[in-house]
Amino acid sequence: MARITAGVGSSHVPLLGVAADQGKDRDAYFAPIFAGYDWTRAWEREQKPNVVILVYNDHASAFDANIIPTFAIGAGERFKPADEGWGPRPVPDVIGHPDLAWHIAQSLILDEFDMTVINEMDVDHGLTVPLTMMFGAPDAWPVRVVPLAVNVVTYPVPTGNRCWALGEAIARSVASFPEDINVQIWGTGGMSHQLQGPRAGLINAEWDNRFLDRLIGETDELRRVPHIEYLRETGSEGIEMVMWLIMRGALGPATKVLHRHYHVPCSNTAIGHIVLEPA
């Protein structure tokens, strides 16, 4: 049977993709950020996951203002890097896992999570930047990916509790997939940042680190953090952190931390990264 062996949390700032694609990832500005992922790159080479369920949000790339799916799962064979206005990133196509994606989608719907299924879409920096951070610049990504896109743009976005519960349901669905494969789940976005208005540039390192603390161990306190707290404390785009709770929920009642990293700033954003295992 398939099993979820680990969870990874990571920011997905587009500038990280630019830095990596232009070979600037070890210059003075970016080196402290990328150095925090060196441990994870080595660990991923040992772990050799078969599939990553990659929780991210689309930034007006695959979805325009017309259709706003709260939770959407990508069931296609492959997904191309999106052109976000600066040209598509020069990274490999993302290879999907339609069998697992459809298995998860069907299981979730029976489990009362009514997913939107996407067959064709391009994937933007929200998905490709975490792949770069964890795997560098290979000719082909060393994993298949099941994209799971979450609306964190148009309010109300899903509650933290709902995200956590979705993670729990994803874990149940993966456990009933008949192939013996190693599956990781990644939650991406955040940490504190605000890209709009006179309050732009807000960073809250103290709150971000308490968020990281509460992903570890048995506490489920983050289920009950309301949207308004993310908005007040971590900026209007800090709400992306609810996507990390899907990852956390999928790891079961308790976790242990393998690696942790935090750095300010990258562009407008606080970078956070954590690697967790079910405990």
Binding site: A65, Y155, Q196, P198, R199, L202, W207, P226, V264, P265
Partner: protein
Amino acid sequence: MTGHSDIHAYLAELEDIPGTRVYTATRARAGYQLNQFAMSLMKPANRDRWKADEAAYLDAWPMTEAQKAAVLARDYNRLLDLGGNIYFMAKLFSTDGLSFVQAVSTMTGMDVGEYQAMMNAGGRSPEGQRSIKGNY
């Protein structure tokens, strides 16, 4: 449960944050054509037509005159007030060749150098920036 049973109370709280326009359904509805216009700039042929004559390009979109004027002025705070969403507005500023930092800084009253210096020093503190009513 973290759910709010009262959508009205939930939405009212979202308006209590200084210097912030949360992208609610009200804004999404007001800004629908504005955001779809911005999205249209993702097609190279549309970008070419836009760059050749911005005003003529805008005339094909059923946007308000205020929205069109704010687009032409690249007044991003005003565009957010009129229903623009930052990820859609990014299509406009990326067409202009601006980065997120460059475009975002225009909304803060700082020049880009001052804004970057603030970020490099740890960013804007949330102190006094959390609540209009509570002033904390």
